[in-house]
């Protein structure tokens, strides 16, 4: 039973702890999301931070104690997560582990798998990456071709995965590979592995984004051998398991460890930008048209926030269950694209400066955010795919 007094005390402790312990300003830029961890400096800093948060009891507080969690009610972890958001603490590094692998193992992993992996996920001692997308198969993931051939008590992996976040730092990969090219349907030929990344035959190559950031890698498997124990579930179950992990990503299924893995542009920051940017010799915020647009953006931000809170209250979403959850990526990524675009407009010619230029507003973070906002509408399920999902699962339209 959840005792409100306990929760209040915990919440206050969490607030205090984060206020005291959140790292101060660094002399290097921290990545805004787990996808841009590009330097060793950033990696070690964030790893230490996640470890500290975990040891203090504020990460995975609601995961089972026997695997390394806190064994508390989810409300406690939510309180800790909110405290982190308010203090705008650095992100949690081990996003794939915390939000995908962890919930997956807790839902359907074996006892051995849970004992082996959960603690390392929370403490950030073992970093996870995701091997789903391939150079030729992203939206059509069901056509994935990376091959896994059983050989005695090992599987031999050949092929390539791309957009592997933190691939160069990861210890493990959740890998979707094809074990049966002759299967009756392409989906039934796929299997799911909890694969080691630091094995012979596995090579990662960094990918540099348009924004100048690293973080993504391409992973090459060249006769890489992994233990047959790495197989999760049975051969042929890979697609089902992969779909389940995507539901965690979409927030359609809960169970994530807590904390934030992305620092989204705060709509309030754009008001600050409007005050500091100059338009016709005066602060841009004094311009009528600018104020109109800010009001539009603030209204929309508020609506998005309220929708996400409403989605957590089941009685308020009876008429179209899942519509808010399934629509949120589409609406929020579109919103952030427009928010960042307006930030560019506000800066006028100063928007030509970029991260690293002394004269850039806010270190050029809006320009970088604007460029990244395009990948946000592609990665994690393109906006076109999101519309298909809404059309099929919310509106009941025929399959595309």
């Amino acid at each position: 039973m959840l005792d409100a007094k306990d929760l209040d005390a915990f919440t206050q402790d969490a607030k205090n702890w984060f206020q005291e312990n959140a790292p101060k300003q660094t002399d290097f830029m921290l990545p805004l999301t787990f996808m841009e961890v590009g330097t060793d400096e950033q990696f070690h800093f964030l790893r230490d931070w996640q470890n500290k948060v975990y040891e203090a009891g504020y990460l995975g507080a609601h995961w089972p104690k026997e695997y390394g969690g806190g064994g508390l009610d989810k409300a406690f972890q939510d309180a800790a997560t909110r405290a982190m958001a308010v203090e705008r603490t650095p992100i949690m590094l081990n996003a794939i582990g915390l939000n995908w692998t962890g919930p997956l193992l807790l839902d359907r992993g074996s006892e051995a798998e849970k004992k082996k992996y959960i603690r390392g996920i929370l403490s950030a001692e073992e970093i996870w990456c995701q091997g789903f997308s391939e150079p030729d198969h992203g939206s059509d993931l069901g056509n994935a071709q990376t091959r896994a051939v059983r050989d005695g008590d090992e599987y031999v992996i050949n092929g390539s995965k791309i957009w592997t976040t933190q691939g160069n730092y990861a210890d493990h990969m959740i890998l979707l590979a094809r074990t049966n090219p002759e299967a009756e349907s392409k989906y039934k030929g796929l299997s799911f592995f909890l694969a080691p990344m630091k094995a012979e035959g596995i090579q990662t190559v960094p990918i540099r984004k348009l924004t100048g950031e690293y973080g993504f890698t391409q992973t090459f498997f060249d006769d890489a051998r992994i233990s047959a124990d790495c197989l999760m579930g049975k051969e042929g179950e890979g697609w089902l398991i992969a779909m389940q992990t995507l539901e965690y990503e979409r927030g359609a299924r809960s169970g994530q460890a807590g904390g934030h893995v992305m620092m989204l542009s705060d709509p309030n920051d754009i008001i600050a930008l409007a005050r500091s940017a100059q338009l016709n010799g005066k602060p841009a915020i004094e311009d009528q048209a600018v104020r109109e647009e800010l009001v539009h953006l603030m209204t929309e931000a508020r609506a998005l926030g309220l929708a996400s809170r409403r989605d957590k209250l089941q009685p308020l979403t009876q008429d179209r269950p899942m519509s808010l959850a399934l629509g949120s990526k589409l609406s929020s990524t579109d919103f952030y694209q427009r928010l960042n675009a307006f930030a560019i407009t506000l800066q006028g010619t100063r928007a030509a400066y970029y991260v690293g230029d002394e004269s850039a507003h806010d270190n050029g973070i809006w320009q970088r955010g604007y460029l990244n906002s395009f990948s946000a509408t592609i990665g994690g399920g393109t906006s076109q795919i999101q519309r298909n999902i809404i059309g099929e699962h919310v509106l009941g339209l025929p399959k595309s």
Binding site: D136, Q288, A289, E292, Q384
Partner: protein, 407 residues
């Protein structure tokens, strides 16, 4: 020196031509036809209106099929004259003629038809005696048209057609159909398609209405159950129908969007400047709305410049290629934006649902006039603009392959 004089003569001739078109419109575009054009919220004018206008164009000036060869009724105009003619018609709110016959099957017959087919069909298209439906898309084959399944099996000197076509605009009014059918399943899909021309009132054909969300009846699904057409219905060669279809796609000079959208935006501006809302204020005096109108106007001006640039390219014989995709994407998205501004401008007038009042022959007047009656239906109908004629997603794929060299 000589070049400059020549250009000036050309300009004067074009000015005279422009005046000729305007004079014709002033005299023959009746208030009823103009009103019918205004009340139309669909892609093009309904048949009774369209054919009435086409007949006037044909009988008064011989201008029904201007782009055809002169031997078949074309005008022999220069590219500029064609552009001026289209622009003046748009600015005058003349009914938009359905392109199926004049713009599609007509040119197809001109390019691939036998003498007998040309002699039979072309005059009837020009006079408006025949009204054509286009049988292309199927429920399972839209963006991927080559995958079409509607079958035509050879039986003696006939084909037996079995299958269905969908989104057949105005099939409810059509007496003819040009249809892509599958005559061979063995090789590549594109190599087993035949282009057929036949009557739409044959036994075994059923036309079922598809009522749009606006209440309008533009689209239909057509069902073919063992429909027999003579072998002479083939246009071009059997199994070579895809060639004809591709020719039509490339031949389409591409619509021009900017002039029509300028007219629509002006209508929005006029409405916003005169109508008062519930609090007595005019939307045309609201700075936020003015800003949106200004932003739309700027983009329309840019669109006009873009289309002018493409016109120049066409005129000097340069290939337009994938830029036509860019035009389609921009044009339809701007069209949708203007409909959104119109809905915002008309306010509560967007609520009444009265499709029957917008029909030209209606006895009931719509609530609110002009923009008030059409803003919402137009907005709803134009949701489809980014889907039909090659969805904007497909157009972006085309551009990324052709212009960006992406996979």
């Amino acid at each position: 020196m000589l070049g400059a004089i020549k250009r000036e003569r050309e300009m004067q001739d074009l000015e005279l031509f422009t005046q000729e078109v305007r004079d014709f419109l002033a005299e023959h575009l009746t208030p009823e036809l103009r009103r019918a054009g205004e009340l139309c919220a669909g892609i093009y004018a309904e048949k009774p209106v369209g054919i009435a206008w086409q007949r006037i164009l044909d009988q008064e000036k011989g201008w029904a099929v201007p782009a055809w060869p002169e031997a078949w009724g074309g005008t022999g105009w220069s590219l500029e004259q064609h552009a001026i003619f289209q622009r003046e018609m748009t600015l005058a709110n003349a009914p938009v003629l359905a392109p199926n016959a004049i713009g599609m099957v007509g040119p197809a017959i001109l390019a691939y038809g036998t003498e007998a087919q040309k002699n039979h069909y072309l005059p009837r298209i020009r006079s408006g005696e025949d009204y054509w439906a286009q049988g292309y898309s199927e429920p399972g084959s839209g963006s991927d048209l080559a995958s079409l399944q509607c079958k035509a099996e050879r039986d003696g000197d006939e084909y037996v057609i079995h299958g269905t076509k969908i989104w057949t605009t105005h099939a409810q009014w059509s007496n003819k159909i040009f249809c892509l059918v599958r005559t061979d399943n063995s090789g590549k899909p594109q190599h087993g398609i035949t282009f057929l021309l036949f009557d739409l009132n044959l036994p075994g054909i059923e036309v079922r209405p598809l009522i749009s969300i606006s209440g309008d009846h533009e689209f239909n699904q057509v069902f073919f159950e063992n429909v027999r057409v003579p072998v002479s219905a083939v246009l071009g060669q059997e199994n070579d129908g895809w060639t004809v279809a591709k020719y039509l796609l490339q031949h389409e000079r591409g619509s021009s969007y900017a002039p029509g959208l300028q007219v629509r935006l002006q209508r929005v501006r006029d409405f916003a400047a005169s109508e008062r809302d519930g609090s007595g204020a005019r939307l045309g005096e609201d700075p936020d709305f003015c800003r949106k109108l200004a932003a739309a106007e700027i983009e329309l001006m840019a669109m006009q410049a873009f289309e002018d640039k493409i016109f120049s390219a066409v005129k000097s014989g340069e290939p337009v290629g994938a830029l036509s995709s860019a035009v389609k994407i921009r044009g339809t998205e701007l069209r949708q934006r203007v409909t959104e501004l119109a809905v915002e401008a008309v306010g509560f007038y967007g609520l009444p649902y009265q499709p029957e009042a917008r029909r030209p022959e209606a006895n009931v007047a719509p609530l609110g006039s002009g923009l008030a009656a059409t803003a919402m239906p137009q907005y709803l109908n134009d949701r489809a603009a980014s889907i039909y004629a090659g969805s904007n997603e497909i157009q972006r794929n085309i551009m990324s392959k052709a212009l960006l060299g992406l996979a």
